[in-house]
Amino acid sequence: MPILWLILIVSAIAAVGYVLGRARALQSAGGDSRNLHSLPSFYGANVTLKTLVPAVGLLIVWLLAQPFFVNSQVSGMIPESAIKEGSSRSLVMAEVRRTAFGLDNAVAQGNLTESAASDAQVDVVDVTQRLKDAGQVVTSDITQPVLRAAQSYRAMSSTGYTMMSVAVLVVALIGAAIGWLQTNADYRARNVVEKGVGVLLLAAASIAILTTVGIVLSLIFNTWEFFKLYPASEFFFGMTWAPSFSGRGGLSELGIIPLLWGTLYISIVALLVAVPIGLFAAIYLSEYASPRLRSVAKPLLEVLAGIPTIVYGLFALLTVGPLLLDIFGDSGLGWMKAGTAVMTAGLVMGIMLIPFVSSLSDDIINAVPQAMRDGSYGLGATQSETIRQVVLPAALPGIVGAILLAASRAIGETMIVVLGAGAAARLSLNPFEAMTTVTAKIVSQLTGDADFASPEALVAFALGMTLFILTLGLNVFALYIVRKYREQYE
C-alpha cells in the first residue's frame, strides 16, 4: 500500500473520530453543550490527536528504521566470496539495492512476472537481460549472490511495508477507540488537547537542535572514519593536495593548507572589494542621502544580496573571467593564464558581499545616538569630521562584527569558487593564478565516483568539519561583538 494512501486512511480515521468524539460528548451531556467541561470541538480534537500522533509517529520511526534494519540483515547474507577484490561490502550492497529497485520497476512495467522476480532458482542471465530490456540501470552483470540478496531485500522490504501498514492502522484505530471511550461530559478535554498541542509545538522547536546534532554527528562520524584511514597530522599540516583518482591506485596527499590558503586569499580579495564600497555606501546612505535617494538606492543595493549564488558563479566564469583575461592575460599584461583565478572569484564574491556589509553597517551607524553627533557639531566639527572621529569610532565594534559576518559568508561560499576559482590547489601569492578552496573541494570530492568509504571521499567530511568550526567560530564571535555593542547604547 503506498504511503500516501496510508496517510489518507489514517487522516480519514482521525476525521471520523473527530465527528464521533464530538457527538459522544454532546450525547453524554444530554445535547446541551453547557453541561460539558470543554467546548464540543475539544472532545473531537482529543480523539483526532490520539489517532494521528501515535500513528504518524510510528510511521515516521518505521520508515527511518526499516531500511537500516533490512540493509544490515541482507548485508549479512552476502558471502565473503561474493565481494570482489578492491570492492567492499557497502559497494555490493549498493548494487543489491539497485538490483532490487530494478526488479521492482521491471515487475511494474510487466517485463518480469512477480513470481520470476522472487524465484530463487531463476536464471541470472535471463533476469539481467530482462532488466536491461526494461530500461533499468544495471551496472555490471549481476552475480548469483547479488540477485539472491536483492530478492530477499525485496521480500523483506515488502513484508516490512505490509507490517508497517497494518501496525500504523491498528495504532490509529486503538488511539481513536481510546479517545472515544474516554469521552464523557466531565472529561477535561481542553486541558488534554492544549497540553498535547503544547508538546507538538515544543517538538517543532526542537528540530533546530536536531538539525545541529545531525550536522555535528554526521561530520564527526565521517571525520573519525577518515582519520582512521589517513593520519590527522598530515591532513592538518600537509602542504600538498593531490588526491589520487579512484581505481587508479597510488597514495593520495590530502593536506588542507593549500585549500585554506586559497579560501583565505579569495576571502581577503572579496573583503577588499566589499568593505570599502559597502562601508562608504552605508555612511553616505545613513548620514548624507536624502530620504528619496535612500529609498531607491538601498533596495537596489540589496537586490545584489537576493541574487542566487549560481548566477554570480556564472557571471564569474563567463563575464568577469574573460574580461580580466583580456586585461591581464597574454594579450594584455601577461599575468594571467586562464579566466578562472583568485581575482575573478574574489571580485565577484566582493560584489555579492557589498549589501551584507552595507546593510549591517547602516543599521549600526543608525544606532549611534544623535546626541553624539550634535555634540560634535556643537564643537564646530564638519559632518565628515564628525563621522570619522565620532560616529565611526563609536560604531567600530559593530562594523567589525559586520565584516566578520561577511568574512564567514565568504569562507562558506561555494558556487562562485566552484565556477570561478579553478580546480588546482596551490600555495602562491599571485592573485591571477587559479586556486581552490575548502568548499570547492568538498564538492569535487563528493560528486566524483569515489567510493564513500575511501579516504578521497571521506576527506570531504573532514573539510566540512573544518569549515563548520571556522564559520561557527566567526559567527559566534561576530554576534557576540554586535550584541555587546548594541547593549552599550540601549
Binding site: 527511518l64 522547536a205 564600497i277 560584489i351 563621522i387 566552484v418 564538492v443 560528486t447
Partner: protein, 443 residues
C-alpha cells in the same frame, strides 16, 4: 571679567574677516567634499556592478529564447511512403524525399545552390528519422501538406546569433564553410528563420553533444516538487516552533539552547547542509539519490531558521492588548494564540515564507552533494507521487550542469535558465511585497 569680554574675535584671528575662508577652513571644506564624493562613488560602483550583472544576463540569455528553424512544407503520399518503407535504408529514403522537396522550394524562389545529404545532416540532424516517426504516428496526414519546423543544429544557430562566423570557423564534421552558403540561400528564400524557442521552456535536458535540444522544463518541475516539500514541511514546523518560542517557552536553558541553535543554523554555510543531507538522508536512510524529496528535505532544514526568524518578528508585532483582551473574555492561552494572534500575524508569516522559499529556490550548493547535478533530466516525472521520488534536476542544478559542460552552446542555455530562475524569484518577491503592502497593519 571685563578682560575677557574685551577680547574680540578679530584679534584672535589676526585681523582676518570671518566671512573669508582661510587655508585651514578651505582644507576642511575640501575634505568634506572628498568624503561625500567617496560615498557617492561607493554607491555608484555598487549600482554599476548591478547594471553590469543584469546587462550580461540579459544580453547573453535572451538569445536562448530564440531558435533557428528550417520551416518546410512537406507532402508525402501513400505510394511514396510505401516505396520508402520498402527500401533497405528507410530514413535515407525519407531524407532524399525531403531534399527533393527542399530543392523544389529553392527553385521556386529562384535560388540555386548545390548541397548534398551530408550537408543537410550537418544542418538539421537526422531529418529522415524525424519525418518517418511523424508519419508513423500520424498516418492520416499522408497526402496533405504538412509544415515541418526542424530545429537547426546549434552551430547554425550560432551563425545566426553571431557566435559562429565565416571567418573564424573551421571545417569540422559538425559544420563546413560550404554549408553556410546553403544557410544563406535558405535564409534568402525565407525557409530558415528565427522563432521563439518553446522547446527551451517546455523541454527536458539533452545529451552533452546537443545544446540545441536542451530545455529547462523538466528541471522547473523538479524545482516545483522540491518547493512543495519545503513549503509543506517548513511552514507548519516553522510556525509551530515560532509560536512555542514566542508565546509559550519558559525562560530556561533549553529555550536558550534552541535560540542559539536557530541563530547559528541561519549562518551555517549551505554546503554543510548538503553534507548533512548526503550523510543522513542518502547514506543512512537510503532515500533515492537526486530525488526532489531529498532536495526538499535539505532545503527545508536550511529555510527553517529564515522562516522562524521572520515569523517570530510578526508574532512579536501583534500588540499584547490583543492577547490580554482574548484572555479577559475567558479564552485559554492556546485559544488566544490560535484564534487571535496567529490570524493577525498571518500576512507577515506568509511574506517571510515566500522570501524563504525564494532563497531555497535559488540555492545550488547542497543540491550538488545529493546528486541532483550529475543527473540528466531527460523527461518529466510519470505522476504526482513519482515527482517526489524519481530522480530529477532542479533549476539551479540544471544551470550548473550546463555551465560545466564543454560545448559553448550550453552557456547560452545557462544564461537563459538564469533569466527564467530570476523571473520566478522576482515574481515571488513581488507577491511578498504586495502582500506586505496590502495587509500590513501598524498598531
Amino acid at each position: 571679567m571685563t578682560d575677557a569680554s574685551m577680547q574680540s574675535p578679530e584679534t584672535g584671528r589676526h585681523g582676518v574677516s570671518l566671512t573669508a575662508a582661510d587655508e585651514h577652513t578651505k582644507k576642511r571644506a575640501k575634505a568634506e567634499k572628498r568624503f561625500r564624493a567617496y560615498g557617492i562613488a561607493a554607491i555608484a560602483t555598487g549600482l554599476f556592478f548591478l547594471v553590469v550583472l543584469f546587462t550580461s544576463i540579459l544580453s547573453q540569455g535572451i538569445p536562448a529564447f530564440q531558435r533557428t528553424v528550417v520551416s518546410v512544407d512537406f507532402t508525402l503520399n501513400e505510394p511514396q511512403r510505401d516505396e520508402a518503407e520498402g527500401t533497405l535504408f528507410k530514413t535515407k529514403a525519407y531524407s532524399n524525399l525531403f531534399i527533393a522537396q527542399l530543392n523544389q522550394e529553392l527553385a521556386e524562389s529562384g535560388i540555386s545552390v548545390d548541397f548534398d545529404e551530408a550537408a543537410i545532416e550537418r544542418l538539421l540532424g537526422k531529418v529522415g528519422g524525424t519525418i518517418r516517426t511523424y508519419y508513423a504516428d500520424n498516418p492520416d496526414k499522408l497526402g496533405e501538406p504538412v509544415n515541418f519546423d526542424l530545429a537547426a543544429s546549434s552551430r547554425v544557430d550560432g551563425y545566426f546569433k553571431g557566435r559562429v562566423s565565416r571567418d573564424t570557423m573551421q571545417d569540422s564534421r559538425f559544420l563546413q564553410k560550404s554549408d553556410l552558403d546553403l544557410v544563406d540561400a535558405l535564409e534568402e528564400a525565407g525557409i530558415i528563420k528565427q522563432a521563439f524557442n518553446w522547446p527551451f521552456i517546455t523541454g527536458a535536458d539533452s545529451g552533452v553533444d546537443n545544446p540545441g535540444g536542451a530545455g529547462i522544463g523538466a528541471s522547473v518541475v523538479g524545482s516545483f516538487f522540491m518547493m512543495l516539500v519545503v513549503l509543506g514541511l517548513s511552514l507548519p514546523i516553522g510556525v509551530a516552533a515560532s509560536i512555542y518560542l514566542e508565546e509559550f517557552a519558559p525562560q530556561n536553558r533549553f529555550t536558550d539552547l534552541i535560540e542559539v541553535n536557530i541563530s547559528n543554523l541561519a549562518a551555517v554555510p549551505s554546503i554543510v547542509f548538503g553534507i548533512l543531507g548526503l550523510a543522513v538522508f542518502i547514506q543512512f536512510m537510503h532515500l533515492p539519490q537526486s530525488a526532489p524529496l531529498v532536495g526538499g528535505l535539505v532545503l527545508t532544514l536550511m529555510t527553517l531558521p529564515t522562516i522562524i526568524i521572520s515569523t517570530r518578528a510578526s508574532l512579536k508585532a501583534v500588540p499584547p492588548s490583543i492577547r490580554d483582551a482574548a484572555l479577559g473574555v475567558g479564552a485559554s492561552k492556546m485559544q488566544a494564540v490560535f484564534h487571535h494572534v496567529l490570524p493577525l500575524a498571518a500576512p507577515g508569516i506568509l511574506t517571510g515564507t515566500i522570501i524563504g522559499l525564494a532563497q531555497a529556490l535559488g540555492e545550488t550548493a547542497p543540491l550538488l552533494l545529493i546528486g541532483m547535478v550529475g543527473f540528466v533530466a531527460r523527461g518529466y516525472p510519470d505522476g504526482f507521487l513519482a515527482g517526489f521520488t524519481e530522480p530529477n534536476s532542479a533549476m539551479p542544478a540544471q544551470i550548473y550542469t550546463w555551465a560545466s559542460r564543454a560545448d559553448v552552446g550550453f552557456y547560452e542555455k545557462a544564461w537563459g535558465g538564469i533569466i527564467i530562475l530570476l523571473m520566478f524569484l522576482l515574481t515571488m518577491n513581488i507577491i511578498a511585497i504586495i502582500l506586505r503592502r496590502r495587509f500590513e497593519r501598524r498598531w
